[in-house]
Symmetry: C2
Subunit: 443 residues, 2 copies
Amino acid sequence: MRLSRYFLPILRETPKEAEIVSHRLMLRAGMVRQESAGIYAWLPLGHRVLQKVSKIIREEQNRSGAIELLMPTIQSADLWRESGRYDAYGKEMLRIRDRQDREMLFGPTNEEMITEIFRAYVKSYKDLPLNLYHIQWKFRDEVRPRFGVMRSREFLMKDAYSFDLDQASAVHSYNKMFIAYLRTFERLGLKAIPMRADTGPIGGDLSHEFIILADTGESEVFCHRDYLDFQVPGADTDFDNADALKATVAKWTWLYAATSEMHDQTAYAAIPEASRVSARGIEVGHIFYFGTKYSEPMGAHVQGPDGKPVPVHGGSYGIGPSRVVAAIIEASHDEAGIRWPAAVAPFDVALLNLKQGDSAVDAACEELYRTLSAKGVEVLYDDRDDRPGAKFATADLIGIPCQVMIGPRSLAEGKVELKMRNTGERELLSPADFVARVTGAAA
Amino acid sequence: MRLSRYFLPILRETPKEAEIVSHRLMLRAGMVRQESAGIYAWLPLGHRVLQKVSKIIREEQNRSGAIELLMPTIQSADLWRESGRYDAYGKEMLRIRDRQDREMLFGPTNEEMITEIFRAYVKSYKDLPLNLYHIQWKFRDEVRPRFGVMRSREFLMKDAYSFDLDQASAVHSYNKMFIAYLRTFERLGLKAIPMRADTGPIGGDLSHEFIILADTGESEVFCHRDYLDFQVPGADTDFDNADALKATVAKWTWLYAATSEMHDQTAYAAIPEASRVSARGIEVGHIFYFGTKYSEPMGAHVQGPDGKPVPVHGGSYGIGPSRVVAAIIEASHDEAGIRWPAAVAPFDVALLNLKQGDSAVDAACEELYRTLSAKGVEVLYDDRDDRPGAKFATADLIGIPCQVMIGPRSLAEGKVELKMRNTGERELLSPADFVARVTGAAA
């Protein structure tokens, strides 16, 4: 992408309204724009990151056996009356009347609707287990939206819903999602620790939040230090092996880890002092097993092996891609701007032309841009007529992992200059060596 | 994907509420489910098609130089008061009050919001031209939603918005989208004819609808037969070559083509009789040039070359991917079900195990499934314990272009049977030859 033809509205000033660093950097880097309180447009740079985050989440959901569909944003109030949550949900639910005066709402979550879909089609235990997910915009009418997309009113959510015949198989479905979440967050460049959690308005018996540690975290969390070094299960995980998954989940849950609301000071004090971690955390995922909480009132039964109807056991599993984008920035930035993990960076390479209008430099840049693009490398080519200093600052602010600079001096030696954003490491090398390096790293 | 683990709720009965064939087939094939009047969930099979359609639209938008972002669904009423459309839009706009009693709405289109984004950042003619698009859910509160996703209330829309300094460059932007649309519909397997159109509530001076011919079309259209054989511009089109684009658009617009509301009987009668086509049509895209209709009232000015502020010239360009899915079915089906064009088929290959439980057949199917999947071919493997006849019927109904059947008889000869859904052509060939055929066709 040529920056001269892109839409990257960088802000020079730090916006006053932004209280946290991710919000400030997302506004400054031209990633988002607030359209109403707690409602954001994702500008092109932000949209690219949001798509990459969503893609990784989707790939790991699919790997674990979950199946993607897409439910609408607008739901009928009657559906929520069946579960009893319509009156219970409170003012966070955005309630709507359509032109026929029917009561509708903008979905804040989808347990009711997915249960309605399930009960309409699935009649036998032979069709279980089933895990259906979608990635869709939700709305929660927060009384005080803030922190940018970290706590917005309209937000993107991946929510999965599992259906099983009994508790044992439901726990296996829960464990699949548990492992999928560990893998997802690792691929997103985040170190997430599962913590036993309160179930809140979703309800249920068993629940974990996935929390990343960041100095700017929204809440206090406590855990055993060993979690920080645990190895995440590989891409070759057999999600059908219930015993193996159970053992992995046991390993990831037997040491102490709790959010402040679930914190037990006595248990925490029993950890050797050197292994205690007390830090700020950001919730990036939340999973629930809630048994028959929705299937019973809504009549989602299947015929069991003995021919009798059984209400199915359910769970739900959420990650908010829009919130995750902000969380990644909270966990990975410096004074100069964002430092994207490679997997979610909006572009792989920032190519900076340090003397636009110099024919040799222009030609070398064009050549490198074409070569990399042809190899499938995503390049943001800064071909604007601007000072080198401004180009350096923009590249650092928007956080592209790999910067390559071409100016008359290095070019006279047949070299280009590489700078790695995350380490600051610099190197002079030939354009051909640079291409080999970048495509090798991408392969 | 193994069908035994998939969620494909085929309906045996033809649903009574469905008036048109695409609606009937989408319900029967388990592609969509109505959740409220005119509001649909996209079940896994339907979701796959919707994603493929969206991807082709996105690729052609990008090729033409448009830049993707993502605007929210919920908008502020104040924004629409600036353009004067808040009161004018009528009851099709879904109006909402949030918990602070602010007037909001679910966006039916985005001219106002994109103009707000544009004016916030773009200050100089040097930053033009600019074409920004998104693919987002919209809501129009139709008084009588019907025809399934062809005329639903909540629908997916790709809407692009161009900004230019003057009319001449705005027409070039319009021409870019015109060409992008021709290419998009061709890749979607549709023969779309641009027809001069009424501008309706979007407003403006210049507008074309892209219409496909289908016996079940919603309206009557009239055009010159030569359009049916015109060649669509290639992938190597230079979108910066204004003269070439202008010539192409001229070629595609100088012959007679009109929807019934723009029909001119005298002009039509002047066409030689053998070249007259009068048929039913379905609108699949609509493009508008509207000059300064939004930029003037909303103050979207840039500094021109002479330093003076100029209101920008705009256009907007819409394709509804959700509607397009239905339109493709209207144009491509038979008695047995859907016949997907290869580019948008939910799977490339349907692999039918004709004797589940026969160890040789099972092994051959598993081997073929693994081989094809490893090569990136998307296979729906019917591994259910069901009669061959039921499997044939399902494969035909859901319309996968290439069916491969493995049973004891063909396997005894070392063969599998290939059936092409669109032609009915059948062939016995070795599994290796089948793999070569499929991957060769995909390459």
